[in-house]
């Protein structure tokens, strides 16, 4: 059994209401059932909004930078608590996809150097993830009625998430709305964690 001095990290990304948190909760439950200690990070956009930063189609370079850096800090804090596995609800690249989608939504462009800076910031985290799961929007699945999402923006985020992953050739697993796809993602996550975590 390989022991490591850093926890296993599994990140998810994808547009809103595509089952990311539910998927992580299921992975969390399965891991704990096997005795693995798990920490889950998340609620970044909500926390950003609570300190006055814009969200959704109003995202700016500042809100994106806050979300990426706060996400990094959350992951470090979770690791410092001694968790065997850290489940990251929104891997760093996700924030960049949200920003790109917001800019396209508003027909705006970001300064090239600023864009590059954010891209490098997000990219610094990619080697940290042992597995990246990317949810795929299924337009047939109705959105939770509790949310008043802009459908066009949601679609744009989906396109930018998968566009960035392809562009940067980042290894990841796509997770569709099909329950079998969710199960496959959970099985893969468990396999990685159970091989490596000090159970």
């Amino acid at each position: 059994m390989v022991t490591r001095n850093r926890p296993i990290r599994i990140g998810v990304l994808g547009t809103h209401s595509t089952g990311k948190t539910t998927l992580l909760k299921r992975i969390e439950m399965e891991l704990r059932a096997q005795g693995v200690t798990v920490a889950r990070t998340g609620r970044l956009a909500k926390r950003a909004a609570s300190i006055g930063l814009p969200k959704m189609q109003h995202h700016t370079s500042a809100s994106t930078e806050w979300i990426i850096t706060q996400g990094i800090a959350d992951q470090l804090a979770a690791a410092a608590q001694g968790a065997d596995v850290v489940l990251v609800d929104r891997a760093s690249l996700d924030a960049l996809a949200y920003l790109h989608a917001a800019l396209e939504y508003r027909s705006e462009r970001l300064d090239r150097l600023e864009n590059e800076r954010l891209r490098i910031l997000a990219a610094t985290q990619l080697p940290q993830y042992d597995l990246l799961l990317a949810s795929v929007l299924d337009p047939r699945v109705p959105v939770d009625t509790g949310h008043d999402y802009d459908a066009r923006y949601r679609l744009l985020v989906d396109r930018h998430v998968h566009g960035l992953l392809e562009e940067e050739q980042i290894p990841h697993q796509r997770v569709t709305s099909d329950p079998a796809s969710h199960n496959h993602a959970i099985e893969r996550a468990l396999r990685i964690c159970l091989q490596e975590a000090p159970v």
């Binding site: 059994m1 439950m29 399965e30 704990r32 059932a33 096997q34 005795g35 200690t37 199960n183 959970i186």
Partner: protein
């Protein structure tokens, strides 16, 4: 889902004495005498996060990864040397309070304890309650015990609000079928609970439960245990409160019970019009093993109105009103104060807490009630919420 399982390596860690001291004393105490038996809970912590879990009452809901309080051998010794343990008689429950016994990390310890008990030649009833995965290879292990009277109860609620019931109900449904298909020496019971009107009592829910009950040796249905700690959790998480009030006992409103009974009623089955459906856990367990109820519920006749005739006959033949002088002497030894009575329904005592009352109850197979907590007619073991007051017989 084909779930990979961690190679069975090291044993579940034992919490340090300091951490155990930090637990609520009632949780750190591994043995508790409950109505369904002497309950051994040497492992605490659970990832399943069921909103209505009794772990709220022990301030333990946040502990998501199981840990042991002592070794399996020490747990066995604590049980069999407990002052209220009687070989071959006292019903036993394992890990029914603070974790799920079939979690992969818990299961090896459960099996270890079962093996120790079985190897001692004990024939006591042992109840295991789970809502997690049970595989055919687990059934083979459960069938391998030669002496214990083992029952696996599978909890199934079918509540589809993920914040109240995060565990996929299909897991329990599959486990029940697997258990039933492979049962040789053990029995399996569908533990249909908690039933909350408006949440999981639609016709579709009832139909699903009836279909599942065909894959069990017996079925028990019960309501929600809704204490103030559980209500506080619901409120803090923005969950709809199922009842305005909390209660000491489980809440099973009359209208909900009637719907269930009507749904299961098949008058053409003359000797068992409700099939193997029971109101009380011990009744279902006893039926599944072909025995009389060890809790003496036969004395509370209104509980028996749905029982199969063959079961009633068994309970009737085993049910003996204990001798008053003998009961009085034993109750006094246990610390009873005031008058001891033996009525047609129960032994009535004063000054005895639940453990000694259950000790008497299981010893005589006859209900034992506290005079200060009367069991009103048709409200045995139920909260008064959802029931019209009736001037029936008390205790």
């Amino acid at each position: 889902m084909n779930v990979p399982v961690a190679p069975h390596g090291r044993a579940l860690p034992i919490l340090s004495p300091q951490k155990i001291r930090g637990l609520k004393p009632s949780l750190a105490d591994v043995i508790e005498y409950r109505k369904s038996g002497l309950s051994l809970n040497w492992i605490v912590g659970c990832p399943l996060e069921c909103g209505y879990c009794v772990r709220h009452l022990f301030d333990n809901f946040e502990m998501k990864v199981p840990r042991r309080l002592m070794s399996d051998e020490e747990a066995v010794a604590s049980l069999v040397h407990h002052r209220y343990f009687e070989p071959h008689r006292t019903p036993i429950q394992l890990l029914n309070r603070a974790t799920d016994p079939m979690l992969p990390v818990v299961k090896p310890h459960l099996v270890n304890v079962l093996r120790h008990l079985d190897n001692q030649g004990l024939t006591n009833h042992v109840l295991i309650i789970t809502r997690w995965r049970v595989e055919p290879e687990d059934c083979a292990v459960l069938n391998s015990f030669k002496n214990l009277r083992l029952t696996v109860l599978v909890t199934h609620s079918a509540i589809d609000n993920e914040r109240i019931e995060p565990v996929d109900s299909n897991i329990a449904a599959t486990s029940l079928r697997t258990l039933f298909d492979h049962a040789e020496r053990y029995r399996t019971v569908l533990y249909w609970r908690p039933i909350v009107p408006g949440l999981n009592d639609t016709d579709a829910h009832l139909e699903r439960a009836r279909e599942l009950s065909a894959h069990a040796h017996a079925t028990v249905f019960t309501g929600l245990f809704f204490r103030k700690e559980i209500a506080a959790y619901y409120e803090a998480h923005g969950l709809p409160l199922p009842y305005e009030d909390t209660a000491r006992r489980k809440i099973m409103p009359q209208a909900a019970e009637k719907r269930i009974l009507d749904y299961f009623h098949t008058p053409e089955h003359l000797t068992a019009p409700w099939g193997a459906l029971f109101r009380k856990t011990s009744c279902a367990v006893a039926y599944a093993h072909g025995e009389a109820d060890y809790n003496g519920h036969y004395g509370i006749r209104e509980l028996c109105t749905i029982c199969p005739q063959e079961q009633l006959a068994l309970c009737r033949s085993a049910w003996r009103k204990p001798d008053l002088a003998e009961v009085t002497e034993r109750a006094r030894e246990l610390g009873a104060t005031g008058t001891v009575e033996v009525t047609e329904r129960a032994i009535i005592v004063e000054g005895l807490d639940e453990p000694p009352r259950y000790y008497l109850q299981h010893g005589y197979g006859y209900q034992c009630h506290d005079r200060a907590k009367p069991h009103h007619h048709r409200q045995h073991g139920r909260a008064p919420i959802g029931w019209k007051a009736e001037n029936g017989t008390t205790a």
